[in-house]
Structure formats: structure tokens, C-alpha cells
């Protein structure tokens, strides 16, 4: 199938004696927006690292953007994949500002010994404007709030002009207002650019409404998958999380 951008078959990943992924198979079409949910330790982040080549497959195969994922082409692959992780603790004295941090997203594609041109700096300014961070461009990255930091991280992924957009708990550890803004931004980006997007969260309230398919992960396996309407049922989610789960009101899911 020509429009298949991710094809994973029987992927097994282990960290020493812990098996993080146990025979996971997944196919993702170009432009799809997929939500991946599950309790902590379900293998959600590991699945994303298989896609961007940072996770080492013990068994199985992964074909991403037409390239077999292996130790040799990881760098080439990651230049085409945007990745936003959850807010990290950062040294407030770090010698880099927001504008420079966003440009880091471009460095992989630029390659060694090539400097960013004026056009590329203008593109950074344009993307910063788009994510609402133009006014903070010169601020040291360590001086941002969690929500601002995530906007900068999204801008960094966008400037990369990725074909796949991986979001790993991008709204974790930030305040509710900032969470809503980040989710709006992610949905806006998907509407504008139609990038294949995989959004990982353990919090059902953080699931974007534009999600077209929902993958439920548990104990290193894809436990169930389907449309959000078919998956977001109290009984299914209670089994997934091993506790009674009430479905968030539509307004909360869709903000």
C-alpha cells in the first residue's frame, strides 16, 4: 500500500531483563492522527522510539517512511520525524534562547558544516509566531513555563518539516490552561499540514478530538484498537487501566 508510512511487524524491544514491547504489529497510513493510550509502563513511549529508530528491536521488523529501521539509518530517519517529549527539567542558566532552541530542529536536515541561512532564521520566526511565541524568541529556554516550553518544542519539531509527528505526553506536567492551548495547537497543525501524527497519553482527558484511531496498549502489547467512539467505553477502559474509569465528558475530550 503506497500511503502506508509506518509498518511494524512483531516488534520486540527489551531493556535488559524487562520486555518493553512484546510482538507489536502496527500499520499507519499517511496523514492519520492516532492516539495511543494505556497505563504507565504499557510500552507507549517504546513504540514511538521504535518508529524513530532510537529503540533497538530484539525481534521483528519496522518499515518507516519506506526505510527499514536499523542501527545504520536511524540518523537519516530521524531527520524526517518530529518528536516532542513531555516537559523536562531544564537548567535555567542554560546558554541557549528560544529562537536558537527552535533552530536546533533544523540542524539535522542542514547536515554537518552547513550554517542556517537568513531564510531559515525567518522560517523560525514565522513558526514561533504561529505557536504564539514570537514575543519570547530571545528569552533563555530555561526561563519558560511548562506550556511555553512545549510550544517551543512543537515549533522545533515543525521547523524540521517532519513527515511524521510523534508526541509523547506533550501535555503532562503543565497547567490545565496550557494543556488546552497545546492540544488546540496540535490539532491546528494537523488540520494545516496533515502530518501523520501519533499522540501518546496516559490521561484520557488529554486526547485530541481529531484522533481518528485509538490504540490501547497494555503490558507491552497492543491490547485493542479502533475508532475513538468504539474504544472510549467505560468497560473497555476499566479493563485497560485495571480500575473503574469514567468516560470524560465530550467537552473535556474535545476541549
Amino acid at each position: 500500500m503506497d500511503n502506508m508510512v509506518i509498518s511494524i511487524k512483531d516488534a520486540v524491544v527489551s531493556y535488559r531483563e524487562d520486555v518493553a514491547l512484546q510482538g507489536v504489529s502496527l500499520k499507519v497510513r499517511k496523514g492519520e492522527f492516532i492516539g495511543i493510550i494505556g497505563p504507565n509502563g504499557a510500552g507507549k513511549t517504546t513504540l514511538l522510539t521504535v518508529i524513530n529508530g532510537l529503540g533497538k528491536l530484539v525481534q521483528g521488523q519496522a518499515l518507516v517512511l519506506g526505510m527499514p529501521v536499523n542501527g545504520r539509518n536511524g540518523i537519516k530517519l530521524r531527520k524526517r520525524i518530529g518528536y516532542v517529549a513531555q516537559v523536562e527539567s531544564i537548567d535555567p542558566r542554560l546558554p541557549i534562547n528560544v529562537r536558537e532552541t527552535v533552530m536546533v530542529g533544523r540542524y539535522g536536515r542542514l547536515g554537518l558544516l552547513h550554517r542556517p541561512t537568513q531564510t531559515e532564521w525567518k522560517n523560525v520566526d514565522r513558526v514561533l509566531d504561529m505557536v504564539g511565541m514570537a514575543g519570547l524568541a530571545q528569552r533563555p529556554i530555561g526561563h519558560l513555563s511548562g506550556g511555553e516550553y512545549q510550544r517551543a518544542a512543537i515549533a522545533r519539531a515543525l521547523i524540521q518539516q517532519p513527515e511524521i509527528f510523534l508526541l509523547d505526553e506533550p501535555t503532562a506536567s503543565i497547567d490545565p490552561q496550557a494543556q488546552r492551548e497545546i492540544l488546540s495547537l496540535i490539532q491546528l497543525i494537523h488540520r494545516e499540514y496533515h502530518m501523520t501524527t501519533l499522540f501518546v497519553t496516559h490521561d484520557l482527558r488529554q486526547l485530541p478530538s481529531t484522533c481518528q484511531r485509538l490504540i490501547l496498549m497494555k503490558e507491552g502489547k497492543i491490547w485493542q484498537q479502533g475508532s475513538p467512539e468504539s474504544m472510549l467505553k467505560g468497560e473497555i477502559l476499566s479493563q485497560l487501566y485495571g480500575a473503574t474509569v469514567s468516560i470524560p465528558a465530550k467537552a473535556e475530550v474535545a476541549f
Binding site: I75, A85, E88, R93, P95, I96, V104
Partner: protein
């Protein structure tokens, strides 16, 4: 003050050694300080010292021993810290203690006078040889050239190593390259500054510059200027007051760090963080 001393070759060599050592140690210092891996510098410095002592003991060029040991220690620490099998502090601590043990072992095994070994201990910028100076100039040119050529990758790796990896920068290669040049820089400056003291020249100017700016380019320049001032002021103090040169350089750099911290505009960051936490 009599400046006629400047016409002598040994003093010209010392001034050039101070210029090159000040620049390279400070640049490498900016890397390790920004990556919060300062202890790696201590460890590599002691490894270089142990290797140099092995050279003195067995009769080959101490700088060759220093280079081999410092690179080997960087090659051991990096993967140990990266694989996460041990806490980075633990792995660095183990290599550090091993290198210190080897240094004392080699010194203990040396027959006769240990003057050369003690010179490596304390350093002597006033007796730096032409051969050492050429090596130091070459290393300085290489370090500056590599920083200019790979500035953007270095900035990405020292500020956002995981992000650098995720956007397709060869972050691991750059990281090991930085460790490699830390080892080479320490080796090249070993005779001038001394194995026990060189670490301060790596840490202090960089840590002082870290207090003063949020720009990496400015930090590299400020640290280099501080490094040169430390070396030249230490050299002058050493010559005019007849004090050990390595110790004078290190004390000067420590004073610069103290002043930079006292007048740091980043001190208000702490207050800002507390406000953020309270909210």
C-alpha cells in the same frame, strides 16, 4: 616594574603557553560545565596525569602516556554513563579512583629522583619546552577550528542532547568528540599547568562565564578571556613573587570565578524560580 624579561625565550614561550592553555582549557570547560559533567574533566585530568607518570617511569614521552590514558578514560566513562548500567557519578568515580591509584603506583615505582613527576604534578609554565609548545599550539588551532566548524552541533548536544539525537544530529559522535578533545586539551596543557591543577583552569573560567551570559558564543569568548587572564596573571605572580606557577594560575582563576558569581546577573534567576515554584 621591569618588563625586560619579556625578551627572553622562556618567558615568550610561557606567555604563548598561557594564551593557548587558557583558551583551550576554557573552551573545553564550557562544554563540560554546560553539560553538567564537570567531574568528567577531573577524571580525565587524573588519567592524563597517571599516563604521564607511566611515561616518566618507563622512559617514554610523558605526553604520549597522558594522551593514551586520557583518551582511554574518556572511552570508558562515556559508554558506562550512556548505557545507564551505573549512575554516571559512580562510573566516573570508579575510573577517577583507579587513575589516582595508578598515578600513585607509578610514582611509587619510580627509582631515584622524582623531580619530573613532581613537575607534572604542579606544572611549570616557565619551563615549557618548544616541543610542548608546538603541540599546544596545534591543539589550540584544532579546538578552535572544530568549534567554528561544528558550532551548531556542539550547541545542540551540550544544551539538548536528547533533542539533538531525536532531530537526526549525530549526537553520540559529537559527545564522544567533546570527551576526546577534553582529553587532548588536558594532555597538551599538562606540563604548563600540572595534573592536579589543570582541572581548575578547565572549570573556573567556564563556570565564571556561565554566570554572566545566556549566549553560548559569548560564553566561549568570555571563558577564553578569563582563561588567558588567569594564565597571564598567574604567570606574572609566579615570576615576580617567586610562587609556583600552576598554583598561581588556579588561584587567579578561582578569584575570577568568585567575582563573576558575586556580580552575576543570573543570581536573580534563583528568585525567579522560587516565584515559579510558589505559583
Amino acid at each position: 616594574m621591569d618588563f625586560s624579561i619579556l625578551q627572553y625565550q622562556f618567558m615568550q614561550n610561557a606567555i604563548l603557553a598561557g594564551l593557548c592553555g587558557g583558551i583551550t582549557c576554557s573552551i573545553v570547560g564550557v562544554f563540560v560545565v554546560s553539560m553538567h559533567l564537570s567531574f568528567i574533566g577531573v577524571c580525565i585530568a587524573h588519567a592524563a596525569f597517571a599516563g604521564a607518570l607511566l611515561g616518566v617511569w618507563l622512559g617514554f614521552n610523558p605526553l604520549v602516556g597522558a594522551l593514551l590514558f586520557s583518551l582511554a578514560s574518556a572511552g570508558i566513562i562515556g559508554p558506562m554513563a550512556d548505557r545507564g548500567e551505573l549512575n554516571p557519578d559512580t562510573s566516573i568515580g570508579i575510573v577517577f579512583s583507579l587513575m589516582l591509584g595508578l598515578a600513585f603506583l607509578f610514582m611509587g615505582m619510580m627509582p631515584g629522583s622524582r623531580t619530573e613527576a613532581l613537575n607534572l604534578f604542579w606544572g611549570s609554565i616557565l619551563t615549557v619546552t618548544r616541543q610542548d609548545l608546538i603541540f599546544l599550539v596545534i591543539v589550540t588551532a584544532m579546538v578552535i577550528g572544530l568549534v567554528v566548524a561544528f558550532y551548531k552541533e556542539i550547541q545542540a548536544v551540550i544544551c539538548h542532547r536528547q533533542v539533538a539525537l531525536a532531530v537526526g544530529i549525530p549526537a553520540t559522535l559529537i559527545f564522544y568528540g567533546l570527551l576526546f578533545f577534553t582529553g587532548v586539551t588536558i594532555t597538551a596543557s599538562l606540563r604548563s599547568i600540572g595534573g592536579l591543577l589543570i582541572y581548575s583552569l578547565i572549570l573556573n573560567p567556564a563556570a565564571a562565564a556561565y554566570q554572566l551570559t545566556y549566549s553560548l558564543k559569548r560564553m566561549l569568548l568570555i571563558a577564553s578571556v578569563f582563561g588567558i587572564i588567569s594564565c597571564w596573571a598567574g604567570l606574572a605572580t609566579s615570576y615576580f613573587l617567586d610562587l609556583p606557577s600552576g598554583a598561581s594560575i588556579v588561584i587567579t582563576s578561582s578569584i575570577i570565578f568568585g567575582l563573576a558569581t558575586a556580580f552575576s546577573p543570573k543570581r536573580k534567576v534563583k528568585g525567579w524560580q522560587q516565584v515559579q515554584l510558589a505559583n
